[in-house]
Symmetry: C2
Subunit: 230 residues, 2 copies
DNA sequence: TAGTGGTCTAGACCACCCT
DNA sequence: GGGTGGTCTAGACCACTAC
């Protein structure tokens, strides 16, 4: 029932406003109340709507804030878009190289496999905001690194070139500074604070697929989380 | 159906292992399959389980990682516990004072109200790991600041002393350094990187209730997020 | 008291995976 | 083919809110 999500985003039901009751929505859309409830439950867990027993369901007034949250897909391009910028991706380096000891441990593969190393910059309106280094075993794709189109969001790359899909991601958030290398890439002064995200992408079989280390300029791009329980 | 969550945590269904089918769980627990599915859908969105159509439902093998995630309640005490430490809270300061211009804007109240300012330290095994400064209008509680028990997690404080409840929280994550003031409080060297979380707690009516600024020692306490879609 | 969301039942049919 | 999860229906009763 993605029509409901669309209506919320298109302000058919304005922020702070009340949605029709579950029963009337069910009738109007020609589905059962259970179906409507399943959709509403998802929106509520994302903080998009607020439900009050005995009263009604309301669109979150902070919709603009909530919309920049990390729900479902964590995707830097979408995040840049949600912050009101035009996203673009430029590849800094794309190569095959031996795996490091640390990486073979994290990816749970033999220390003699070859990995594809892909480093990229995400831009918001031509301004560099995130620097991302991804690594994955070469054997996971059927072609060589130079043949893949690296100007796509990571989810698209996986979908296009990988056999397996991504079922979940674990991200660790840390703080760090701009060093001399990042200074050039992100156009920021050495010593300024930066966020670092260490991500691991897993398959449905709980196997690690891809590693990622990202440096995130939080001054341009707000990193917001919404937690809702209701 | 919190019995299922309990079973997963108590390893009745071990990490990586398969759960009984939805139908057999429904029969065993004496509920309908719909009820089981509602519970499983919630666990899946938290990354606790992975469901495969035509195959079965599996407990996430990275359960230990996933368990330290931020699902449902964002609560520092729980987070410390999930990282394997004994949590405790000590109050640094508790006072009433005039509201600042910035705070009155963020809390959407008149610039002449009095606020309660509560600053506290969270410890993991007697080691300070998070410094939190909370601010809320004094008029929201029926007693004076000195009378409230500030050695509780924020959700307990709200539940005990506030009329309204918290429906959702928006957190902004930033990076910063240890300064001379934080050096003493967190026992870390000046200049080391730190995470800063700027939180706003909202009621069901979308009104901001409480502000919070937290300084988080990510070297001791991993800040992990799990994103799952399935 | 009427209407809302919260919880639940007992089915149905489909898509998909494994053997 | 047999079993699994994915989607959906058409009800029921309860708890709560607003008036």
């Amino acid at each position: 029932m993605s029509i409901l999500r669309q209506r919320i985003h298109e302000r058919v039901y304005p922020p702070g406003g009340r949605l029709p009751s579950e029963s009337s929505l069910a009738t109007e859309l020609g589905v059962s109340r259970t179906t409507v409830r399943t959709a509403l439950a998802r929106f509520a867990s994302e903080g998009l709507i607020l439900r009050k027993q005995g009263d009604g369901t309301y669109v979150n007034q902070r919709l603009d804030d909530v919309d920049t949250h990390f729900g479902g897909l964590w995707d830097f391009s979408r995040l840049i878009e949600a912050n009101g910028y035009q996203p673009s991706i430029r590849t800094v380096a794309l190569e095959e190289r031996p795996i490091s000891a640390e990486e073979s441990l994290a990816l749970e593969v033999n220390p003699d496999v070859t990995v594809v190393s892909m480093t990229r910059l995400f831009y918001a309106n031509e301004r560099p905001v995130i620097y991302v280094a991804n690594v994955f075993p070469q054997e996971l794709i059927s072609l060589s690194a130079s043949e893949l189109n690296s100007d796509l969001p990571i989810h698209n790359i996986v979908h296009t070139y990988f056999e397996a899909g991504i079922a979940f991601v674990i991200s660790e958030i840390e703080a760090t500074f701009v060093d001399s290398r990042l200074q050039e890439l992100l156009h920021k002064k050495v010593g300024q604070p930066l966020l670092r995200l260490k991500e691991t992408f897993y398959t449905q079989d709980h196997r690690p697929l891809i590693l990622g280390i990202s440096y995130y300029d939080f001054t341009t791009l707000k990193l917001r989380l919404v937690q809702a329980w209701g």
